[in-house]
């Protein structure tokens, strides 16, 4: 990895829907902490192909998003890479374009897409109430996740 690893930090979510916005809040906090020309911090609510458009020309991407699992505890943070849930996503989305499919599609078309993808997923509690704040358990995870992303960046020159 040389000094010019172009990195995108992408906070994903819907900041109108309570815990769904947690990725956005983490990215907003990271924006104030990171000042390196090769790193871009972005917040977005888009999905599928539009997400693919954002990733073009980066070497590495760190995505922060909310997630809901069956037995997860609100605020729990998972560090994932696309391979770790590749199969499940393919199974789950026959027609909508899921993330791994979008990536594969982009690569087949010869787009320059990140070789390294890391996802920090934060277990959400409420994603269906209109609110611009997270629930307390999820709010506590924001600074923790910020630290985890900063730690992740330390691995980069």
């Amino acid at each position: 990895m040389d000094e010019k690893t172009k990195t995108l930090i992408l906070g994903l979510g819907n900041s109108l829907l309570c815990d769904d916005g947690v990725g956005i809040y983490v990215a907003a906090e990271l924006k104030t902490r990171i000042n390196r020309p090769e790193i871009t911090v972005m917040e977005t609510g888009v999905a599928g192909l539009s997400l693919l458009d954002l990733l073009v020309d980066y070497d590495k991407v760190i995505i922060i998003d909310a997630i809901k699992t069956a037995e997860g505890k609100a605020g729990q943070i998972y560090r994932l890479d696309p391979k770790s849930f590749d199969t499940a996503l393919h199974t789950a989305s026959a027609h909508g374009i899921d993330f791994p499919t979008a990536l594969e599609f982009g690569r087949k078309l010869g787009l320059h897409l990140p070789q390294q993808i890391v996802i920090f997923a934060i277990e959400a509690s409420d994603i269906s109430t209109f609110s611009e704040e997270c629930t307390p358990g999820v709010r506590k995870a924001i600074p923790v996740c910020v630290k985890m992303v900063l730690q992740e960046l330390k691995g980069l020159k």
């Binding site: 819907n14 109108l16 829907l17 458009d53 997630i67 994932l80 989305s93 026959a94 087949k108 010869g110």
Partner: protein, 486 residues
């Protein structure tokens, strides 16, 4: 690192579900299309400045923020009693046409394409965009990406950013086009027209030349005779950005034509105990249940509806495509739900042609892009055609422009009753006692709702991409006998 496996079912929490109930004989008794409840939008909006609504409401949805942005902006014009200057209206429509090109392209190639290119019975793992490009070639995949990117560039030029644009203001827009930008938009429009023509050819080659597909499109399982709604211009031509709402009856005769502010005189919402979603219907016909026909107030608001509710397209090539559409399918109106995919491509061509017209309009580089509002705000309604159907915003404020009440009717909600009916009819036609319920069969049921391009709760930003749906089939004892996740 700990490996975490995420069961897809967990990610379906809070998303759409279709439940199909069978009777003792194994026939379809009933089916229910359900969506999650999003709580508190009214309360959330109360006390906010009305002029913030175009920014706030576009964040509801990760799929069509531009549609909410535009509906909200038009609502502010009405609320502040201000008429934007002509160049501003044209810039809005140019912006909106570029958005339509991106959205219709995505729907056709990502959602609809796999069913027809790969076939409804193809294995799930192949029935996606990767399967499509493996079959029709990488070149077309590249054209899809390019068309989207270029049109997003137009949105970016005008909205200041690619996502969640800051563009519409009460009385106008925030930014115009200079001559260089205009030229860029003009070239993008020309390329988009070629792409739209190519897409119609792909549809012609793959779908219309395959008798089995045409038979499926016109089959009774995928047909409902309903009312149709869409915005039209003064000549009753399809318009996405502005005009009057026109409703035609199942025979294609005009039933109503009204200004956005009059919508409550024409549309009412029916409530069912099993759904959070309300079911809009035509007030002057009345709610008669989930049935079609002239006596039922159920209407549809989709690309097919817009074509049915209009007298044609306002641009030449799209008009040709419109005429071919109706001559092939036996005249107006067309009631075949699967024809919505074709209608979407006719609209794609119109959006690209309209983009070109506007980019060549002498007024489009005018700096006269805003009329400053001076009247006191009170109440406003704004309607645009979102790609998925008619989108209504309605705000009531105090004299300082603080929201007291806000109501939105989004496209998917307009079609809620019809989606229920479409799924039930397809399920009844396809699920038969003693017949094995295969994946292909379930996919055909799924094809009954795919043309509506459901935008569930507009909360589709999460990693899987489009809103996941789950179909659950129960036997007469209420036991689950099969599920399909998409």
């Amino acid at each position: 690192m700990k490996k975490i496996s995420i069961d897809p079912i967990t990610r379906l929490e809070g998303h759409g579900k279709i439940e199909i109930f069978l009777n003792d004989a194994g026939e379809v008794e009933n089916s229910y299309f359900q969506v999650p409840e999003l709580r508190g939008f009214e309360k959330f909006s109360e006390g906010r400045l009305a002029e913030d609504m175009p920014q706030i409401t576009q964040r509801i949805c990760g799929v069509c923020p531009e549609a909410h942005h535009m509906a909200s902006t038009k609502t502010l014009d009405a609320l502040f009693h201000v008429d934007p200057p002509s160049p501003a209206k044209k810039l809005r429509e140019l912006f909106y046409s570029a958005f339509y090109v991106t959205d219709h392209t995505t729907h056709f190639y990502i959602l609809a394409g796999p069913d027809f290119v790969m076939g409804p019975d193809a294995p799930v793992a192949e029935r996606n965009i990767l399967g499509v490009i493996a079959k029709v070639g990488l070149e077309l995949g590249g054209a899809v990406i390019n068309t989207r990117m270029k049109n997003h560039h137009i949105i970016h030029m005008l909205g200041g950013r690619a996502v969640h644009p800051v563009f519409g203001l009460p009385g106008g827009v925030s930014k115009g086009l200079n001559e260089d930008e205009r030229k860029e938009a003009e070239q993008i429009a020309k390329d988009s027209i070629e792409f739209a023509k190519l897409s119609l050819k792909v549809f012609d080659d793959i779908v219309l030349k395959n008798k089995a597909y045409v038979d499926m499109i016109v089959s009774d399982a995928f047909t409902h005779r309903t009312y149709y709604m869409g915005l039209v211009d003064e000549k009753n031509k399809v318009n996405f950005y502005d005009g009057k709402v026109r409703v035609v009856d199942p025979d294609g005769k005009e039933f109503a034509k009204y200004e956005p502010r009059e919508y409550l005189n024409h549309v009412a919402e029916h409530v069912e105990p099993w759904s959070y979603m309300k079911f809009p219907y035509l007030k002057n016909i009345g709610w008669k249940g989930f049935v079609d026909g002239k006596d039922s107030g159920v209407f549809r608001a989709t690309p097919l509806s817009r074509l049915n509710a209009s007298d044609g397209m306002a641009t030449p090539l799209a008009q040709e495509a419109y005429e071919k559409f109706y001559s092939t399918l036996g005249g107006k109106p067309v009631h075949h739900t699967l024809a919505t995919h074709w209608a979407r491509l006719v609209e794609l061509l119109y959006a690209a042609e309209r983009l070109l017209e506007l980019s060549q309009d002498p007024e489009i580089t005018s700096p006269n892009i805003r009329t400053i509002p001076t009247a006191k705000p009170d109440e406003g309604v704004g309607i645009v055609e979102a790609p998925r159907g008619t989108l209504t915003h309605h705000y009531i404020t105090d004299e300082n422009g603080i929201i007291k009440k806000a109501n939105l009717i989004v496209a998917t909600v307009n079609n809620a009753a019809a989606v229920n009916m479409s799924v039930k009819k397809a399920a009844m036609a396809l699920i038969k006692p003693g017949k094995e319920i295969t994946e292909g069969l379930l996919n055909r049921i799924e094809m009954a709702w795919r043309p509506y391009d459901l935008c569930l709760a507009c909360a589709t930003h999460n990693l899987p991409g489009k809103a996941p749906m789950e179909v659950v089939i129960y036997n007469s004892k209420g036991e689950i006998i099969q599920t399909l996740k998409s």
